[in-house]
Each structure stands twice: as structure tokens, then as C-alpha cells.
């Protein structure tokens, strides 16, 4: 179980993390997701014990490991946590096996035991034949596996990942996502994973915290985030493709929503929007931007004056640049937000 209570971190006058509180049960897979500069890496470094909070506390399994109010933190090595760095931070002068072995050696395990454990984790990651290579002699994906093997070898109770897939190509990234989930299941350790990629968050997490400017915008399961976004920021950040937000005064005059005298911004899911064949009183005319096939359907995007609408719809469309697209909004929005972005 991990409990974060009013956690804050200042750097001089800049507050990177502001009063964050959340709690996940043991064995969860928590993803901290947000745009760059939202404070997610600082959060992770505080969880790892590399950074002392300036306020609030962190508890692992009921035991306080960092106390920003008391200005102390338990050393990284004594918190039963392992970390995979974004750069992997493999020690370049040690072989793959050496990298995995050294932390065990530091922990004081015997030679025989170490050799067994190294073989075991290399096997778990499918890199048992790379033991004698140096980090620069293997590919990026293999380096990633070594970094994970090194982290799990001492059997930490908590696994921390700092954007571990950001250096990999798209295909490898998808493969490693499932690989990480497999490792998570195999070790049954609580995992905390930092990323700016909401697809990773949605596919891997049991719990997601969306961070923005040092605050938690919303905390919940991936399904909850998509179904009930609590702010305009979350609504446009999660989901593939993310939901559309339309200013109330841009609703076409012939649309039923015009009668309700709405204000603020209205959220429409791409799958609720359809594409009309020609102009109509209730449709929004936009410039065609792009179209792509998506699992047997078409994803069509149009832009106009900074507004961007995406519809996922059936049908065979032929558009080329310069064409107009006529989007038909559903009679009711999926959610409404006020001008500050709060859900109403």
C-alpha cells in the first residue's frame, strides 16, 4: 500500500509538486501521467527517496518513508523500492550480468545465491544469452530489459519506472508494455510508472493520476477517467482519440442545444459525432484536416479558427485538402465544463 499525503516539493520559488494526496493498494499499477513539466518526475524521485519533499509525507505499507514537514527521508536503498531510469543508467563498464549482479553483491548475498538469481531474472526477461555483453553492445530494447532485470533482482516491494519506454521505437514500445505488465504480475510488486504518453497510462494502469502544473487533476481508473473526466484538461488529455470540447457559442444555430442557453464548454465523444453529406442548419462546417482508418471505422478531423473536431464514424469517405467537412453533433453533450475547465 502506498499513501501520499499533501506532498509538496519546492525548488526555490518554483513549486514543482503542490499538495498531492493519493493512495493505492498493494499490487496496484499506478501511472502518473501529464505533460512535460507537470511534476511527475519529481514525484517519482521523491517516492524513490532521491529527493526530500518540502511538505507532506509518503507511506509505504503503513510506514512513513519520507516526511517533508520533518525534512527527512529514508535512504533510497532502505525503502524496498527499485527504479528504472529514463536513460536506463546501466553501468557502462560492467557486463549485463555484472549490472544485475552488483546490487545483489552490495546487499550482501552469497556468490551461489547471486548467480542463481541473476540467471533467474535474465531468463525472466528473455536475455539470458546476453550476460557477457557490455551495455553498448546491445540494442535499446535489450538495454531496457537489462535495466528492468537489475531493478527486480533484489526483489523490491515497489517498482518505480521513469518514462522507461520513451527511448524506444513505436513497435518495441507496444511489446515492452505487455512485457512490463507481465513482470508486474510475476513479481506482484506495487508499481509506479511515470509517462507523458496517455496511451501507456490507459493500457497499463490499474490507477491513473493525471498531473498538471504540479497538481492532481484527477485520480481514478482508466475507465473512470475516460467516462467521467473531472476537468476539461483531463477530457482532452486521455482517450484515443481524446474527446472534443466545443465552446457553447459555437454550436450551430439549428442545433437543439442552442435552445438550452448553455455557456462554457461542451464535451462530445468522437464516436458520438457523425459526418454529414452536405451543409445543414445543425451541422458545423470545417476545413478537412486528416482522415485515417481505425479498426474498420474512419477517424476524420476538421479544423476551423483553432477549433479541432474529431469524429470516429462508419462509412467510406473521400476527402482531400481544401474540402469542407460537415460535422453533426449529438443532441446532448457527454459532459459540460465551465470557463475555468471545471465539470458542471
Amino acid at each position: 500500500m502506498i499513501r501520499i499525503n499533501s506532498l509538496s516539493r519546492r525548488f526555490g520559488s518554483f513549486e514543482a509538486v503542490k499538495n498531492v494526496s493519493l493512495e493505492v493498494p498493494a499490487g496496484s499499477f499506478l501511472v502518473l501521467v501529464g505533460p512535460s513539466g507537470c511534476g511527475k518526475s519529481t514525484m517519482l524521485r521523491m517516492l524513490a527517496g532521491l529527493e526530500t519533499p518540502t511538505g507532506g509525507t509518503i507511506e509505504f505499507n503503513g510506514k512513513t518513508v519520507s516526511d517533508g514537514d520533518g525534512n527527512w527521508t529514508i535512504e533510497p536503498a532502505k525503502r524496498n523500492a527499485g527504479l528504472v531510469f529514463q536513460s536506463y543508467a546501466l553501468w557502462p563498464h560492467m557486463t549485463v550480468a555484472g549490472n544485475v549482479d552488483w546490487p545483489l553483491k552490495v546487499a550482501g548475498h552469497g556468490k551461489q545465491e547471486r548467480a542463481e538469481r541473476v540467471g533467474e531474472v535474465l531468463h525472466l526477461l528473455g536475455i539470458e544469452n546476453l550476460g557477457n555483453r557490455f551495455p553498448n553492445e546491445i540494442s535499446g530494447g535489450q538495454q531496457q530489459r537489462v535495466a528492468i532485470a537489475r531493478m527486480i533482482a533484489p526483489r523490491p516491494g515497489i517498482l518505480l519506472f521513469d518514462e522507461p519506454l520513451s527511448n524506444l521505437d513505436a513497435k518495441l514500445r507496444v511489446e515492452m508494455r505487455s512485457e512490463l505488465l507481465r513482470i508486474h504480475r510475476a513479481t506482484r510488486a506495487t508499481s509506479i510508472y511515470v509517462t507523458h504518453d496517455q496511451v501507456e497510462a490507459m493500457t497499463m494502469a490499474s490507477h491513473v493520476a493525471v498531473l498538471n502544473e504540479g497538481r492532481v487533476e484527477q485520480f481514478g481508473s482508466p475507465g473512470e477517467l475516460v467516462a467521467e473526466p473531472s476537468s476539461a484538461f483531463v477530457a482532452t488529455f486521455v482517450g484515443t482519440p481524446p474527446a472534443n470540447l466545443v465552446d457553447a457559442d459555437l454550436i450551430p444555430p439549428g442545433h437543439p442545444l442552442r435552445k438550452g442557453n448553455r455557456s462554457g464548454r461542451l464535451m462530445f465523444r468522437p464516436e458520438d459525432i457523425s459526418v454529414g453529406s452536405g451543409p445543414g442548419p445543425a451541422s458545423i462546417e470545417m476545413d478537412f484536416a486528416e482522415i485515417s482508418p481505425l479498426a474498420g471505422r474512419s477517424m476524420i478531423t476538421g479544423t476551423k479558427n483553432g477549433l479541432r473536431l474529431t469524429a470516429v464514424t462508419d462509412g467510406d469517405f473521400r476527402f482531400s485538402v481544401g474540402d469542407k467537412v460537415h460535422f453533426l453533433l449529438p443532441p446532448e453533450p457527454a459532459a459540460c465544463f465551465d470557463d475555468e475547465g471545471k465539470r458542471v
Binding site: 525534512n71 533510497p76 553501468w91 557502462p92 546490487p103
Partner: protein, 581 residues
């Protein structure tokens, strides 16, 4: 990253970690750099030196003392800077941007002249072009029966030529590094836009490398005005004085106060131009760093001028690297410098004393003065390599860890000061500080310790830079990932930091060793007969009319420094299993 997180909790709670280490670093840097310079400045305003500033600047003597040497110094500085930028820039352009044949060879050769000490090049010039004006042996060219005019044998012209031949490689190194960052994408983008070759050069390449060209100019200017050996060997015999030789002369005849004033003025001349150069380019550097990984670089096609340009480049490199070394070597074997390539024997190397040759001086193998100078020189190189590495690491560590503190900022500024101070002026400052004892420190003049301290201070900017590179290489996530395992500071130092840093440190130490072995300007004032050094011995033999002994000693210096340089290069680039591409 703040200091708190890097220390165990107890220490973090203890308040201000590392105040002791910060103060230690500040103390060392202050003692090494600030005190000598303050002392020399204070001395020139003390009662002992009353009227010295006036004598030097505004009296009947002042033309001879200062303004005349200043004129020569400035002339040498500007002309050397211009020559170096033209020659070095030309070679850099050929190597970095064109399809000239043997690019790598030229690129390597163009960096070599700087490794040959400038007094070696000057001695080689003398062996070729000496005429009978100042007596003694004539050089090779007069030996062949040609008359060498005075202007080519002595004074401004040969000094200037030798300075350019020595320092153009400095300009080359700076400019070629900048040209290498001109991504071929940049050039191709201009080509796609339809720009001609000359237009690309003027509109794209030059603006991008301009900061490097300015830097090369101000560096070579400062180096030329600081140089002592070349004007001393080629100008002094015909009374051509520069600030450096005048300073040397004043201290030599016991007029130390005037010498110190000249040292301060020399520092000002050198520093002002370095500062101006820096100012011109500051703020513009940013776009030189906008490089990603460019594709395979596409080179300018030189076409028909490919081989003529190659010939020019090769002749420049050949004359400034191989020719001086061959002349020195031949001269150390030939009985007379007027016949360099005949009658070779080993007298200057292993001969016993013979009254017919060189007034009975035995060859260097049997010459106790030279043998002990060799031992002391190598000892000094080793000692300084160790001290600079230690000080450089300590200072770099403090600078990296306590980046934001005022003390760190002060340390940082002080470590850069020696860059502005010519070696001979630094030597003068050290005599001023340590000539007599102060406080608990005894008088150190003439001791090995003084040489070590002065050299450590002189090389501080270099050693701190090496230390920073090493620390940067091994800190950050590599060290944090070791902390995550629970390894203590010492264990991380032994298992992670040292193995990764060792080669960088060793090659940095070797380069320091070489710099000291072949330095003349710093040690020429600190030298005493009880503490002889090879470079100073070579200079004294040459100025007392035994050029071939000087040449033989210089060959020894060259051999030691080339061996150490090769070893350093090998360490730096030797294929480490974990660094292979």
C-alpha cells in the same frame, strides 16, 4: 538536485553540509591564484617601489622600459593573431568542409605544431637562418654559401613567422571544431535554396563559425603577447624587446619592482584582449549548439584546385612540424650547424669532454647538469600531474555539488583567472609572494615546492575542466542507480566512479605532464642553478652560444613529450569494451 538528498539523513539535518570542503577549495584557490597576484600588485604600490609606476610609464626611461616593448608586443600580437586565423582557418576549412585528399593526415599534422614547444621551433629557425651578425656559428643556409639578410635571421620577422608557425594550430583546433558543427543539413538547405558556393560560405558558414574565429583570434593574440621563448631567442640578440623579455631582463638584473610593474601591464594587455574577444562572441554562441545528428556530411567539391590546395596545405604542415624536428635532430648530431647533414656523430649526446668542441662541454649523457635537470624536470611533471589532478577534482566536485552558493561562484571565477595571466607574469607573481617568507610559510624561492605550487596554479583552469568532465561523466543517473542499491559513498567511488573516471583522469594528468615538461615561460623566472629544468637549460645554452646543446636537450624534451602525448591519446581513445561504437 539539492545537497540534502545526496547525504544521509543525519548529515542533512546537521545543517550546512560540505561547508568545510567548500572552504578548503576556496582556500586552495585563493592561495594559488589570488594571493600571488594581489601581492605583486600591492608590492608595486609599497614604499619599496616608490616612483616605479612613474618610471615605467612617464619618465625618460619609459620608452625603453615600456612603450617600445609594448609597441613590439602589440605588433606581434595582432600580426600573429591575423596570421594564425588565416592559416589555421584555411586549413580548418579544407579539412572540415572540402574533399581535399588526405584530409585526416592534414587534420592531424595541423594539430602537431602546438605540441612542439615554441622554443624548439625558434631554435630550429636559428639553426637554419642564423647569420654572423651576433657571432658564433652560422646556420645551415649560410653554411651552404647563401647570405642570410639580418631581417630574416633576427628580430621581428623571424619572431613573427615562428609564432605563427607555432600558434596557427591553436586557431586550427578552435575553428575546425566549430566548422565540424556546421551540419551538412545547413549547407544542403542553402544549396536547395539555390545559393552558390561563395554565398553559402559568406551567408551560412561564416556567421555560424564567427564566434570561433573571434575566439581563435583573441586566444592566439594572448598567446603571442605572453610568449617569452621566441622573442628571447630570435629578438633579444638584436635588442628587440617585448614586454615578456623586458620583464625577464628587469628581474634578472635585480630591478624587481620595475619587473613587477611590467608583469602587471603584461597581464592587463593579455587579459583585455581575451575579455574583448569573449565579449564580442558572448550571447551569440547559442546557435552553434543547434546540432542534431546530421547525416553523412557532404563536402565542397574543390575540382581542379584540389591538388594545388592540397600542396599548399601539405607544405604548411610539413614546414611547421617535420622540418623543425628534423633540423633539431640533425643539428644535435652534426658537428656544426652550418653543415647539418654531414659528419654526424654522437658527441653532443654521449661524447666526453673535449676542449676542441663547445669549450669542453661533455655530451648530455655525461653532463651531470643536464642529467639532473632531466630527473628534476620529469619529477616536476609527475608531481604537478598529481597535484593538479587532485586540486582539479576537488574544485570540480565542489563546483558541481554546490552550484548555487556564493562561495562556489567565487571559486569558479578564481579558477579561470590563470587563463588571463601570461606564464612569465605568473612566475613574477610567485617570486613576489614566495621570495621571502610570509606568515607561517618559509621563503620558497629556488625550491622544488615553489615550482610545483606555481605550476599547479598555472594549470588550474585546465585541471578543473578535466575534473568537471570526469565528474559530469560519472554523476547523475549512473551514481543514483548505484545509490538505489544501498552502496555507500566509498563503495560507489571504488566500483562505479573510479573505473569510469580513471582513464579520463590519467589522460588529463599526462597532458599536464607534457605541458610542464615543455614549458619555459612560467619556469624561466623561478629557475635557479640548484633546481635546473631542461627547457631553461636549453634556453641558456642557446643564449650563451651553444645552440647544438640546446637542440640536443630540446630533442630530449620532444621525445618525452611526444611519448606522453601518444600515451594520453591512447588512453583517451583506446577501445574500451564499453565505449566501442
Amino acid at each position: 538536485m539539492t545537497s540534502h538528498t545526496l547525504w544521509p539523513r543525519g548529515l542533512a539535518l546537521a545543517g550546512r553540509p560540505g561547508i568545510a570542503i567548500k572552504l578548503a577549495a576556496l582556500g586552495i584557490v585563493t592561495l594559488l591564484v589570488a594571493l600571488p597576484l594581489l601581492k605583486i600588485l600591492a608590492f608595486t604600490f609599497s614604499d619599496e617601489a616608490t616612483g616605479t609606476w612613474h618610471d615605467v610609464l612617464f619618465s625618460r626611461l619609459s620608452y625603453n622600459l615600456f612603450w617600445g616593448p609594448l609597441r613590439n608586443t602589440m605588433l606581434l600580437g595582432f600580426a600573429t593573431a591575423a596570421g594564425c586565423v588565416i592559416v589555421g582557418g584555411f586549413l580548418a576549412w579544407l579539412v572540415a568542409m572540402t574533399d581535399i585528399p588526405f584530409r585526416r593526415t592534414i587534420g592531424l599534422m595541423a594539430t602537431l605544431p602546438f605540441m612542439i614547444p615554441s622554443f624548439a621551433t625558434a631554435l630550429a629557425w636559428g639553426s637554419l637562418f642564423r647569420n654572423s651578425r651576433v657571432g658564433g656559428h652560422v646556420g645551415f643556409i649560410e653554411g651552404l654559401g647563401f647570405a642570410v639578410p639580418d631581417w630574416l635571421a633576427w628580430g621581428m620577422a623571424p619572431t613573427l613567422i615562428v609564432l605563427i608557425a607555432h600558434y596557427y594550430s591553436l586557431a586550427f583546433t578552435v575553428i575546425v571544431a566549430a566548422l565540424a558543427t556546421v551540419n551538412s543539413d545547413l549547407v544542403e538547405a542553402a544549396q536547395l535554396g539555390g545559393a552558390r558556393r561563395s554565398r553559402i560560405l559568406a551567408g551560412i558558414v561564416l556567421p555560424v563559425v564567427l564566434p570561433a574565429v573571434v575566439a581563435a583570434g583573441s586566444l592566439t593574440f594572448a598567446s603571442a603577447v605572453s610568449n617569452f621563448a621566441v622573442p628571447a631567442l630570435l629578438g633579444l640578440p638584436v635588442r628587440m624587446q617585448t614586454l615578456a623579455t623586458r620583464l625577464f631582463g628587469m628581474i634578472g638584473i635585480g630591478q624587481t619592482a620595475r619587473g613587477y610593474v611590467l608583469a602587471i601591464l603584461l597581464i592587463l594587455v593579455s587579459a583585455v584582449f581575451l575579455w574583448l574577444g569573449n565579449r564580442m562572441i558572448s550571447g551569440r554562441r547559442s546557435y552553434a549548439t543547434m546540432t542534431g545528428k546530421g547525416g553523412r556530411s557532404k563536402r565542397f567539391q574543390l575540382g581542379a584546385s584540389r591538388y594545388p590546395l592540397f600542396a599548399v596545405a601539405f607544405v604548411i604542415c610539413f614546414l611547421t612540424t617535420i622540418v623543425p624536428v628534423v633540423i633539431l635532430f640533425a643539428s644535435s648530431l652534426a658537428p656544426s650547424s652550418s653543415a647539418l647533414f654531414s659528419g654526424w656523430n654522437l658527441h653532443y649526446w654521449i661524447g666526453r669532454s673535449n676542449a676542441d668542441i663547445a669549450q669542453g662541454q661533455p655530451g648530455i649523457w655525461h653532463n651531470p647538469g643536464i642529467l639532473s635537470a632531466t630527473a628534476i624536470t620529469v619529477g616536476l611533471g609527475v608531481a604537478v600531474a598529481i597535484t593538479t589532478t587532485a586540486v582539479g577534482l576537488l574544485v570540480a566536485f565542489v563546483l558541481a555539488r554546490y552550484r548555487d552558493s556564493i562561495i562556489a561562484a567565487a571559486i569558479n571565477q578564481l579558477t579561470l583567472v590563470p587563463l588571463l595571466v601570461p606564464g612569465i607574469a605568473f612566475g613574477a607573481a610567485y617570486i613576489a609572494l614566495f621570495g621571502a617568507g610570509f606568515g607561517p610559510v618559509p621563503a620558497l624561492y629556488g625550491t622544488f615546492v615553489l615550482l610545483v605550487i606555481a605550476a599547479t596554479a598555472y594549470l588550474l583552469p585546465f585541471s578543473v575542466q578535466t575534473g568537471r568532465a570526469v565528474i559530469q561523466q560519472v554523476s547523475g543517473e549512473l551514481d543514483e542507480s548505484a545509490r538505489m542499491t544501498g552502496a555507500g559513498t566509498l563503495r560507489r567511488l571504488a566500483a562505479i566512479t573510479m573505473p569510469l573516471a580513471a582513464r579520463g583522469l590519467a589522460s588529463g594528468a599526462l597532458i599536464v605532464f607534457v605541458k610542464i615538461i615543455r614549458d619555459l615561460s612560467l619556469v624561466v623566472l623561478l629557475f635557479t642553478p640548484a633546481m635546473p629544468l631542461l627547457s631553461v637549460l636549453a634556453y641558456r645554452y642557446a643564449s650563451e652560444g651553444f645552440p647544438q646543446f640546446a637542440n640536443a636537450i630540446t630533442v630530449v624534451v620532444l621525445v618525452i613529450s611526444i611519448a606522453a602525448t601518444l600515451l594520453a591519446n591512447r588512453l583517451q581513445s583506446k577501445s574500451q569494451p564499453w565505449l566501442k561504437d
